[in-house]
């Protein structure tokens, strides 16, 4: 990670936020749709669909069996109901499980061959698919930085940038369907090793029908020369997106990975059930950042994405380190607990989260820190913001196993309420099974303060600008953990997500 002058970054970022907010008229800016001919698998879910997806991806036999196994297990499972979420019944037979732009029937050799309509989609989203320097637009950042992108559109990956440059460093960054073809031994070794097929209802569903996603492999001792990122776009109607991401960091390697998500505005709900698995070996370090901006539904709670995601990192060997940073502003329903298994000794897990729920959004999100190794350390900083009629729950587990002696956790959960019809809930689970570990938990709940808003307004800011400023201040501890391109986007999102929440 580039070391930044913190203040300078904040300066640039905040200005950006305000400008972005001012330039935006609507609330959800990614709500448009790309009109393109799609190739759908038949509606509904059964073994034939699982076989079809596997066949479309030209998968080896073992993977088909793995999927079928997952599907059969899924049939015996029930949708979890312990979260503080009101989830309408989902008819899994009314969804499409595979959608691919027709122009992608022949896999393009490079991004140059991809249908310009698809490329335009990403250009419109502001995502660079050309191999160009990304100019950060931040004071103090003199040179541009490179970010490699994997673009996933509905069920398929369109292509990945900077492949050659990454390959020179020994880094593999491609879609998971390509990885199955080109690096089957790696996929076979690690797939499902962090999140088993039957881990939970949604993970089982994903294991059966995942169509694409990203694969990252960082060889021993390599510091990935650029940020890696995946942008997920759901476009087709009534289509679920089930991406699977697998990241393997060999001994002593480093990587920073970013993930962004958007979807068109629709008045029906759409399903998104992803799985992210991260394997981190000795002395390796992975930083995983998400800006989740799926369509949240309209101001009356109609439409929006159901976001049921299983993300887990396994710090499998000593001194492995993982850091999750998430900015969750979208989705009608969010069910997501990026977790850290601190298996090795002296391992480290961090979780920084901003979850914003406005209008009728529901979020139940948090983390699990499972301490298995000695001297393992974890840190949780969660900032929940509720507005409108939204309900926002932090749910977190900190577990110290008997062998995880001298381990430590620090948890800080802050909730901010805007208005008087929303709710904030904090549900910490703490299990300590040895005498030498230490767990700290701090929680606060506050309302956006009228005095703060008046102070800002008396200096000339309008109410929305004032709220954006105060809320961004509230989130600062988390925002500053994001890579800078994302920090700007996230700040703008924080402001936009809260539009209409006051007055």
């Amino acid at each position: 990670m580039a070391v930044l002058d913190e203040t300078q970054m904040r300066e640039g970022v905040d200005r950006e936020t305000v400008e972005t907010v001012q330039s935006m008229a609507g609330t959800y800016k990614h709500g448009w749709e790309t009109e393109i001919e799609m190739d759908f698998a038949p509606k509904g879910l059964n073994e034939d669909i699982v076989r079809l997806i596997s066949e479309k991806n030209n998968e080896p036999e073992w993977l088909l069996e793995w999927r079928l196994d997952a599907y059969r297990r899924w049939l015996t499972m029930e949708s979890p109901d312990w979260a503080m979420l009101n989830i309408p019944e989902i008819d899994y037979q009314e969804q499409y499980y595979y959608a691919k732009p027709k122009s992608m029937a022949e896999k393009p050799k490079s991004l140059d061959d991809v249908d310009p309509k698809l490329l335009e989609t990403y250009a419109k989203l502001g995502i660079p698919l050309k191999e160009q320097m990304l100019l950060a637009g931040v004071e103090g950042a003199e040179e541009g930085r490179k970010v490699a992108v994997d673009a996933v559109f509905d069920s398929v990956s369109l292509g990945t940038t900077f492949k050659k440059e990454l390959a020179a460093a020994g880094v593999i960054f491609c879609s998971i369907s390509e990885a199955v073809q080109d690096h089957p031994e790696l996929v076979k070794k690690y797939l499902g090793s962090v999140v088993p097929q039957n881990d939970n209802y949604f993970a089982a569903l994903n294991s059966a029908v995942f169509s694409d996603g990203s694969f990252v492999y960082i060889p021993a001792g390599v510091k990935c020369p650029m940020e890696l990122s995946t942008y997920f776009r759901i476009n087709a109607e009534n289509t679920g997106q089930f991406e699977r991401t697998l990241i393997v960091a060999e001994k002593g390697s480093h990587v920073s990975y970013l993930e962004g998500c958007t979807a068109p505005k629709r008045d029906t709900n759409q399903l998104h059930a992803a799985v992210v698995e991260i394997v981190i070996l000795e002395d390796a370090e992975v930083k995983y950042s998400t800006v989740q901006n799926w369509f949240p539904g309209d101001e009356n709670g109609k439409g929006g994405i159901y976001n049921f995601v299983t993300k887990r990192a396994d710090c499998r060997e000593d001194r492995a380190k993982v850091m999750w940073t998430q900015v969750e502003t979208g989705s009608a329903i969010t069910w997501k607990y990026p977790s850290c298994i601190l298996r090795g000794d002296d391992t480290q897990g961090e979780f920084y989260s901003i979850a914003i729920a406005n209008n009728w959004q529901q979020a139940d999100t948090g983390t699990k820190m499972v301490h298995l190794g000695k001297n393992s350390r974890s840190r949780i900083v969660s900032k929940g913001i509720s507005a409108g009629h939204a309900q926002n729950t932090y749910r977190g587990l900190v577990s110290m196993h008997p062998k995880a002696t001298s381990s430590r956790n620090y948890t800080q959960c802050d909730s901010l309420l805007i208005g008087d019809k929303c709710g904030a809930h904090t549900v910490p689970y703490i299990e300590v099974r040895n005498a030498s570990s230490r767990v700290e938990h701090e929680a606060t709940t506050s309302k956006v303060d009228d005095d703060q808003l008046f102070y800002c307004r008396s200096r000339g800011m309008d109410e929305e600008e004032a709220v954006a400023l105060v809320v961004n201040g509230f989130c600062k501890e988390v925002l500053q953990e994001l890579p800078m391109e994302f920090a700007m986007e996230a700040q703008a999102l924080v402001a936009i997500s809260l539009e209409g929440s006051v007055g």
């Binding site: 300066e11 905040d14 703060q452 200096r459």
Partner: protein, 253 residues
């Protein structure tokens, strides 16, 4: 500049609590007026009603800035029109850098007035020069707005905001409270540096000592929501010597 006529205001939540009861005053361009008065006379309420804080209902009277009705405007519109209130208790905003706050404010006002926004570079240059005069160092500009600031730092920060926003009409609400002699001098110097023919001040204070440094053209005595006496700087000295009791008795007589 500022003209207040027969202003009546009460608490929004409790119309029984009438605070301003027919307050009138007129501040001409370039003038410094002081308002003195005992606790509970309505000094802070006057500053809040003028700057547009929620919680008060104006039941009668008017307040205009350069002939434009202030009371019809939102707080931010009043600010853009040139009104500034230096708070008695400046508010803390955790996580928001002082400099970010300042620039957001300056550009919001410039935008509202149809002016070009200041670039980061231009802004930095101006703010550094002005901060130096108020002995505000780089660290204080970086820290979150008013968080962990001492009483003196908070007040100096208010004056810095005033200097950056260049308002036409400045209201200082007990800016001297909580300041030691040196800090008061610094704040007063900051205010005096801003005095000019086009800018007016309304200085609200309990004590005469601030007026040794910021010498007013006119002094008003406020009691029970009305101006009971108006005079020159000597009126402040009289209050200092004799307190408010005589003046209040005189007014009732």
């Amino acid at each position: 500049m500022l003209e207040i006529k027969n202003l009546h205001a009460e608490l929004e939540d409790d119309s029984e609590v009438k605070i301003l009861k027919g307050l009138s005053l007129k501040v001409n361009p370039g003038e410094v007026h002081a308002i003195m008065g005992p606790n509970g006379s309505g000094k802070s309420t006057l500053s809040y009603v003028l700057s547009g804080r929620d919680g008060y209902t104006v039941t009668d009277g008017s307040a205009t800035l350069e002939g434009v009705d202030l009371l019809e405007m939102e707080a931010e519109e009043r600010a853009a029109a040139g009104l500034f209130l230096a708070f008695q208790y400046p508010v803390e905003i955790p996580g928001v850098g002082n400099m970010t706050f300042l620039r957001t404010a300056v550009n919001a006002q410039r935008k509202a007035r149809g002016q070009e926004e200041l670039s980061a570079g231009e802004f930095l240059k101006v703010v550094r020069a002005k901060a130096k005069d108020l002995q505000i160092d780089a660290d204080m500009l970086k820290r979150p707005v008013n968080v962990g600031f001492s009483g003196g730092e908070k007040k100096r920060n208010e004056i810095l905001q005033m200097a950056m926003l260049e308002p036409k009409m400045c209201i200082l609400d007990e800016t001297d409270s909580g300041l030691d002699v040196d800090a008061m001098k610094l704040v007063a110097d900051g205010v005096n540096a801003l005095r000019d023919a086009g800018r007016s001040f309304l200085v609200i204070t309990h004590y005469q000592r601030l007026l040794d440094h910021i010498v007013p053209d006119v002094v008003h005595i406020l009691s029970e929501g009305r101006i009971i006496k108006t005079g020159g700087p000597e009126l402040a000295l009289e209050v200092e010597r004799n307190g408010y009791a005589d003046l209040m008795a005189e007014a009732q007589a």
